[in-house]
Structure formats: structure tokens, C-alpha cells
Amino acid sequence: MKITADQIKNIAKHDLRHELKQRLKNKDNRLGLVTSIDGEQVLTLVLDCADKTAELWQSDLEGASEYPAVSPVVPQAHWFERRLKDLFHIEPTGHPRLKSTFTENAFDGNLAPLALDQNKKAPGPRDFSYLKVEGKGVYELPVGPVHAGIIEPGHFRLSCQGEVIQNLELKLGYLHRGVEKRLTEIPWKLSRHLCEQAASDTAAANALANAIALEALLEIEISETARRARTIALEIERLAMHIADVGGMAVDLGIAAEASTLSRLRGQALRMAELLSGSRFLKGFICPGGINVNSDFAGERTRIALKSLHAELSPALYEVLHTFTDNTYVQERLENTGKIPHSLAEEFGLVGPAARASGIAYDTRTTFNQGLYKDILLEPALEKSGDALARTLVRVKEIETSITILEKLLEESLDEAASAVALPESLKANSFGVAIVEAFRGELIHLIATDSDGAIVRYVIKDPSLNNWTAMAIAVRNELIADFPVCNKSFSLSYSGHDL
């Protein structure tokens, strides 16, 4: 959706905390993100899931670099506010713990990479400290940044007593590559390629968010067939990654037969992606104006090939997933492990399968327009217990919904999908383009701000992992060290999407 300069609501920086708290009392409202354009203001995106709209609030910092933090009354803002200090040298005063979200070495601490004045003096030194747990027999267990398998890097500091984890401290940011800044430097037509690399396991969702946000600023509408092709892409990605996550859980639990079958079936889901887009990760497929395919793309041929692969894949998937979840060992191990109660999930604004596993029926596929979901009745997959088992069951249910959605979407011809809409040369000036997409990890937001010439001055990517990392750290408290990998896997969070 598009938000023009005159639709922005100005809120004094001292009132922000109060206003936001009031607004979030209504359960239909959600905090989308808190950020800044160039360090001179605080920007708050508030989503209204009932009206299906978004509102942008701007709080001018009046030349100062401080404002009263909103985290003390709206805890879910705490990660966003930590980011404000890292990237803009803005100090949210009264923040309960203003620790950096990056590792020390990610970039020079004197630099405010996204601020107008990059060498703007920091209000105080950055904080990288770990919370210390003291007492008899307490010891610290450092894990990472380089992990034992083939996983992205991040550092975990576990304070344990015996075999029990008392506290987990996260240090991320090892993958900070300057993506958001680079997105303001490259031509907007190329931005989709970099957005895909924000987190490549979420390539289709990121490309879709980029396209929706840019299309809002270009004021164009795309064809229904192209929308269907995009929706198919998004669901194939969800299918492939959920299979990978459930398979990863099978690996961590030592269930080799199901793990191996799932990794083979994931190969088939990737084959669907390749049939549709030419890329196993759906890269380069979704673009502003429609979809991008080679000139020899034949919609009907692709649809038939996808349909037959889909028919082959779905019974095999049902069988292996149910064998896995019916296994009493699996149930016993995951039940009550890494529990996140409903109230906590709400307080920290969790998104995606992690939220739905704690009973929060938030799925942006039903609330925000992003594909053809409005024609397909969708029930968010819900579980109540909030443990690792619930998160796994939500994924299993979502694999089944994705299979059903794909079946419906593949019924009609894709022949005209390739005809993309011609793009205007420039973006609408002084406006904001907002896209909210349900990636497989949950609510993904792209926000693009343009200046008076229509050039991109700020590109914000809010990966779903940003909301959920705290929950992972809380979930492992009082669990056994041996359950840490299981808890971590059950959240399956992105490092690259968080670090950018």
C-alpha cells in the first residue's frame, strides 16, 4: 500500500510511548516496525488487521538524538529500538537494556551507517555485554559463531547450572552486509535481486514484498494471472522450507528414516520451484509489474508439469509427516519443551508459526492483500500449547494447507502470467510504499521511502525473525542443554534476515 507525505501522522516524541500503548490495546492493531529514515526522526508503522490498513507515525527528534523509549510500556519494540541506536545513533532513553543487535566487529562503532550524517557522534558507547548469572555451580557455555553443521553464524552464550539452562544471551550481526544501505544506492529496478539475498531461504517472499512496495509507488496494478503465479511461488517456497524445517527437527531428534525421506521430498518441492521459475530458490522470478520468465516460458506446459509433480508429492508427504508426528518418542521429547505462553507471545509480538503455536491467529495471508488468497478460504493453523511440538504441528498443518492452495491455484491456466505490465520510469515522490507478506517464518515487511525526486532514501526490511529471536532466548530457560538444539530448530529463525 502507498502512504503519501500528507497521510503521515505527526506525533510528538514525548507522546509516542503513550499513543502506541493506547493503540495496541485494541487487539486488532499490531506494531509493524519502529525505525528512522535518516536519524532525524522516529518512524512507527502501526498495522490495523481489521481494516487491513497501515498507518505511519512520524516523531521528529527536534535536532536531538534522544527520545523517551517506548519499550518500557510496549515490550515488543525493544529490538527495534536497539537497532535505532546501532544504525542511527538515536538513544531511546529509559530503554530497559540497550544492547547492540550486532557483534562488535560488524562495522566501526563510530559510524552511524544509515544516518544522514554518518559520522554523527554516538550518544554513548555501544553495549555488547552479556547478562551474568551468578551463584554456586553456574558456568557459561559459549556456542558459535561458527556452528557444527551447515548453518548461518551467530553466537549463543548459555549460563547453566548443571544440565539446566538458566539464561541464554544472543549475539547476532555476524552477517551484517549493509543490505539496507546498498538498497538506497542501487537503481530501484535492480533492488529485487538484492532483496532476494536479504535471506535467500525467503527469496520469493522478499521479492514479492519488494514488488508490492514498488508497485504501490509506481501506482500500477498487475494481472490476475501474474498474481496467481506469484502466489504459487510463495506457497512453493513455504512448502519447501517447512519440509526442510520439519526434516531438520527429525535430524535433531535422531529419526533418520523420516529425516532422509523429508530431504528427498524437499528436493521435489525445489524441483517445482525450478519448473516454475528456472531457479530452485525462485530467484529472479517475481519482479515489479508481474513475473519475469524467459521468452520460452509456456504457462500451460509448466502448469501441467507442476500438477503432476504436486500429485506425486502430496501423498508421500502426508504419509511421512504423519508417521513423524504420530511417533510417541517425538511427541514426548517435544511436548512441554521450549514453552512460550500466549501472554508472552502477545507481549513480544511474535509472528509466524511461533505465534500461531501459542494460539495467536495472526496470518498476514488473511489480513493483508499479497496474492490471490482472498479467493481461497484460509484458516490460520493454530495450536495452543506454545511448545516445540506445537510449532512442529503448525508447520505440518501449513504444509497441508500449502498443498491444498497449490492444488486450487494450479487448476487454471498460467498462459498470460508472463505478460508483465510496463513500468513507469520513476517512483512517486515523497511517499512510502509498504508491503506486508506472509513469508514461511511469518510477517515480512518492506517499507520504501522516496524523496522529492522519487529516489529511494530509505529501504527497510523487517524480517519475521526480528520479532522472534527474543522468544527463542526465553523458551530455552530452565530447559536441558540437550534440548537447546531442539528449541532453536523449532523456531527456525534467520540470521541473515536479522543481520542484513
Binding site: 562495522f107 551484517h176 546498498r182 539475498q197 525445489l270 529472479g284 543481520d499
Partner: protein, 267 residues
């Protein structure tokens, strides 16, 4: 248990029998330069189309020897977006579906219409003396510094379909046990120290493989910025490069076979 067994027996062997097959025709593969098409091109048309490459991997330059123009295509920067085979006139750039894409020398990733360069990869003898000690079996340690696509494809190379382990290639959890360091991603400053320490912890002789365009050149992230070093070879000696975004699992297997000098398979 019984169910699982029945399924496994019914599924049979999922592993691909053909070694290093071409990618399927639907795939975008990587681009290649068609020299004949370049020589017979319509010279009036201009070269504006080369500027559409998102990473600037295609350049037209004055030829070294004759009064001509040459076209260079740097696969080390290519993100396989699939645009150039479609936008290049007269089929100058075509689709290459081969999975045998890994090279030992960075220069071999630059496809040029200029004088046929001798493949430098065959020339210098491997530094480990005549008999390459990595020929029999190798252990790999993977360090990810990127967006996870390459990591997923490295994992996929070990899955039942590609099954890299059948070639004597093993994944290890400690650098102490590793012969090969596989690096993905553009190596952000945050990962530089951890990557160096992993490398230093490996026993010699050791090899480094750069997987994917970010690891080779920074890719879409650009050559250098405030947070990124723009490629592995800025800080470590690299023994093999695998282009792609991400490279196909078979190409990753090809890279390992290339540094192993695997007699039949690395060609």
C-alpha cells in the same frame, strides 16, 4: 518403524546415478558467450543491453590485439538472474546448463570473445607436489557468511539425491579435522575474525573453496562497503571457485572433485 521401513524399501534408490549431469532444461543455468554470434553481430545496434546486467558482469572493451571490440562475461559476478540470454541480440549470450562449472583460477571465470586464453587451471602443478594428497578422500568444514542459499545447496549436496559422501567427501564439525574450508557469502566484517580463526585451526595442507558469486566477488552486495569485504580471496588464498547464485549442488561437488584432481570426474 515398520511403516518407515516399507516406505524406504518402496522408494528405492533416490540417488542420481549419472555423475555431474546437465541441469534440467527448465533451469536458468549460467550464461555462456557464443563467439560466432558475437563475430557476426549487427555492429550498428550498440551495446546498451550489457548495462542491464544487475551486477555489471558483462563488459565490452577494446580488444588487446586487433582493432576490434571484445565482450567479457564474468561468471564470478553473475547471479544467474537469467536476463542476458533473453536481452542479448542474436544469441550472443546463451544458456549453459552444464554443472561442471568450478574452476581453480579466478581468471577462468571470465568468458571472453578475445584470444582463446589457455586454461590456466591445468598449468601450475598443484602445490602439494605431483601426487595430490587430497585424491583419496577429503573432509570439509563449511563456514557461512551469507544469505543461506549457498549453505542450503551445500547441505543438499549431502542429501540422498546427490550424496556427495559416495565420492569420499565428508562433512566435519571441527576445523581440526578438515582438509577443505568451504566459504559462502561476501564475508562481512563481523565474520572476518571467525573465518580466519577457522582457517588457522585447520592442519596444513589445506584448501579453500569459494562457493557462490558473493564469496567470489561480493555479488549484489558490491565489491566493498562499510560492512563487507567483497569476497573471500580478499583475505584468504582460494583454490577453487564455484559460480552461481546459488551454485547447483552438482557444481559444488564438481568443485571438490576439481581440487581433489579426481581423475575421471574433475574434467
Amino acid at each position: 518403524m515398520l511403516k518407515s521401513l516399507v516406505r524406504i524399501i518402496k522408494a528405492g534408490t533416490a540417488t542420481q546415478k549419472e555423475i555431474l549431469p546437465d541441469q534440467s532444461p527448465e533451469s536458468r543455468g549460467l550464461p555462456a558467450v557464443n563467439r560466432d554470434a558475437w563475430e557476426n553481430r549487427d555492429r550498428e545496434r550498440g551495446y546498451d543491453w550489457t548495462k542491464l546486467c544487475p551486477t555489471g558482469a558483462i563488459t565490452v572493451r577494446q580488444s588487446d590485439s586487433k582493432d576490434e571490440l571484445d565482450l567479457d562475461l564474468d561468471l564470478g559476478r553473475c547471479i544467474a538472474c537469467g536476463l542476458c540470454p533473453d536481452i542479448s541480440p542474436e544469441g550472443i549470450i546463451e544458456k549453459n546448463l552444464s554443472t561442471k562449472t568450478a574452476v581453480k583460477n579466478r581468471r577462468d571465470l571470465i568468458l571472453s570473445t578475445g584470444q582463446p586464453k589457455e586454461k590456466t587451471s591445468q598449468n601450475p602443478a598443484p602445490p602439494q607436489a605431483k601426487e595430490n594428497i587430497f585424491q583419496g578422500s577429503v573432509a570439509i568444514r563449511v563456514v557461512s557468511t551469507g544469505c543461506s542459499a549457498c549453505d542450503l545447496e551445500v547441505s543438499a549436496a549431502f542429501n540422498p539425491i546427490f550424496d556427495m559422501e559416495r565420492f569420499g567427501i565428508q562433512l566435519v564439525a571441527s576445523p581440526r579435522l578438515a582438509d577443505i574450508l568451504m566459504v559462502t557469502g561476501p564475508v562481512g566484517k563481523g565474520m572476518q575474525k571467525a573465518l580466519m580463526r577457522t582457517y588457522e585451526a585447520m592442519p596444513e595442507p589445506r584448501l579453500v573453496i569459494a562457493v557462490g558469486s558473493c564469496a567470489i566477488s561480493g555479488g549484489m552486495h558490491g565489491e566493498k562497503n562499510y560492512a563487507s569485504t567483497g569476497g573471500v580471496d580478499a583475505i584468504l588464498p582460494v583454490d577453487a571457485y564455484v559460480p552461481g547464485c546459488p551454485p547447483h549442488p552438482w557444481s559444488i561437488i564438481h568443485a571438490v572433485m576439481t581440487v581433489m584432481d579426481h581423475k575421471q570426474l574433475s574434467k
